[in-house]
Amino acid sequence: MRAPLWHLAWRSLANRSLTVALTVLAVAISVAMLLGVERLRQDAREGFARTVSGTDLIVGARSGPVQLLLYSIFHLGDATNNVSWRSLQSIAAHPQVAWLVPLSLGDTHRGFRVVGTSRAFFEHYRHGRGRTLAFEQGRAFDGVFEAVVGAEVAARHGYVPGQRIVVSHGAGGLGSAEHDDRPFTITGVLARSGTPVDRSVLVSLEAIEAIHLNWSGGVRMPGLDLPAERIERFDLTPKAVTAALVGLKSRTAVFSVQRHVNDFRDEPLLAILPGATLQQLWSMLAIAERALLAVSALVVVAGLAALVAVMVAGLNERRRELAILRALGAGPGRIFVLLALESQFIAVLGCATGLALVHTGILVGAPWLEARFGLELQAGWPGSSEWRMLAFVLLAAAVASLVPGWRAWRQSLAEGMTIRI
């Protein structure tokens, strides 16, 4: 006695294929939004967490810890103040400090950040589970006018070692000044790391100093053209940098070194623990995340409401059909199951389509998101939290499916076989 229901539900849906397809689409879009937001949230977190490892402290001018983390590591926003070279030297001399990598930010190359740093960066910068940066081609910079480009920079512009590039002053863009009198030669291209380094051009601190020698207040001083060979004779030691990555001899000293930096006498400085600050960032974003998730959940509710509305509205046209089924021996219970089955079928199809939609979306949108925001999306098998969400949607759909079923049940009880129009 169970067999005909599947058959009937399927044929009935196939008969109303346009309405059903549109309803499936409504559910699918809502599910895709929910899963997409969740995927974005997770991959963003994972991406951020992957970016800094192996660094015990980040030192910068005193500002907010999150702000320092964002501009020094993620190249989001700008520093309000610099750290003087003298203070950095003094911190580097602290007995507990094993290494210190200075970072000097501010210039760009065709929209990509230019990072002035030391060669120690390639040795100490770690990402993922402690992996160092690898060279796809070439080697680290050596001379003043040599540069290493990240994977994304190289991929976008087809850079290979030996090519010459020009750095822009400031954020770049229309009409901004170019340091075109001092081109750089690319010596190396880095392998992809999934970190902001992929979208960076790395040069030496001396180079940053050198390209700004004849600059003042953001413009090049007229009549002061310095040929590259003469620059080598200047003292290119920087006066200040933006921030520094610090590694300690022992992790147990992290709080004492942090206190030492925060209490620094000569200028107001700030040292942060990258992991702890990342946690702080997440808790700041938690409200926004939750709000976004709540909105997506509401969209799913709207999708399911549309499903129920379509099924209940359809009941009116199907009175005769249900009366015939009653006459053929279908009890009100089976009429209930038929309608619930049809609704649930639409919901399942909607969820599957939504899942497919998210994954096509990721496949199509991932290169753009990565190039534009450095967000690396994984087009993999859905993770446990996504399955949990899908299960939740299906459960909600099962509850929603009871509504058309219940309406049909009541209708068939009240009307029996008599068809009243």
């Binding site: 006695m1 067999a3 005909p4 058959h7 009937l8 044929r11 009935s12 196939a14 008969n15 109303r16 005769r320 059909e321 015939i324 089924l325 009653r326 006459a327 053929l328 021996g329 279908a330 009890g331 009100p332 219970g333 009240a414 029996g416 076989m417 008599t418 068809i419």
Partner: protein, 233 residues
């Protein structure tokens, strides 16, 4: 179910639709013998369809006993009554008898999907039995493959008749199946239906407001002769 029982027996049956002030059905006695073909005439709104719902066990009387093929309806639960209806009664309605999204053939075999008994009695297989019945009712296989919604009214009624007859149910109930047909088609349809019922050995209870059809049946009755409650709205 004992062979000797009448197909339908009403004893002091009173039925009232929920919310209705007075009863719609009040039948002290009514009997339909096995194998009989009875025409029951009554004007519109007199309670003919209500009577058929009672026979089908879709609704239960307020008082009295209804026995269908020897089984007292009031002793069965709702599910058992549904099963009883599926197994032993074939229905034909006035109009739009078919599930619109199924083909003619799928409509005919539908009772066999709802009842094992009907399926078993449709020999050699439900599909072949459906094709045979359709042939007897002048339906070709091309018509049977089309969705029910695309068939003419006459074709639909013949498909409905085949569906009622499949699996040889003991009782066929027809609720004005000819009222949408013209006089010529009415006669052809009635002849086919009576012939097939006789062949299947099914009792037939045929209700209509149209007394002109009465002459074609071995026995005819008027509802107001047996029903004390005239339930005109």
């Amino acid at each position: 179910m004992v062979e000797g029982h009448p197909a339908v027996r009403f004893r002091d049956v009173v039925f009232r639709w929920p919310g209705a002030g007075r009863p719609c059905i009040d039948i002290p006695a009514f009997e339909l013998a096995r194998g009989d073909q009875v025409f029951l005439q009554g004007p519109s709104g007199s309670g003919k369809s209500t009577l058929l719902s009672l026979v089908g066990g879709v609704v239960l009387p307020e008082r009295g006993g209804i026995t269908v093929l020897g089984v007292p309806m009031e002793r069965l639960g709702a599910q058992a009554r549904d099963r009883h209806r599926a197994a032993h009664i074939g229905f034909i309605f006035q109009l739009f008898n078919l599930i619109p999204y199924l083909s003619g053939l799928d409509n005919i075999v539908l009772p066999c999907r709802f009842s094992q008994q009907r399926a078993r009695r449709a020999q050699p297989s439900p599909r072949e039995e459906a094709l045979r019945l359709a042939g007897c009712l002048d339906l070709d296989s091309h018509t049977l493959r089309r969705p029910a919604a695309e068939l003419s009214v006459g074709q639909q009624q013949r498909v409905a008749a085949a569906r009622a007859l499949i699996g040889r149910p003991e009782l066929i109930i027809a609720d004005e199946p000819t009222s949408a047909l013209d006089a010529g088609r009415q006669r052809v349809f009635l002849d086919l239906l009576l012939e097939q019922c006789a062949e299947a050995g099914s009792s037939l209870l045929f209700v209509s407001h149209d007394e002109r059809l009465a002459s074609r049946f071995p026995s005819a009755l008027r509802l107001d002769e047996i029903n004390r409650a005239g339930c005109f709205a």
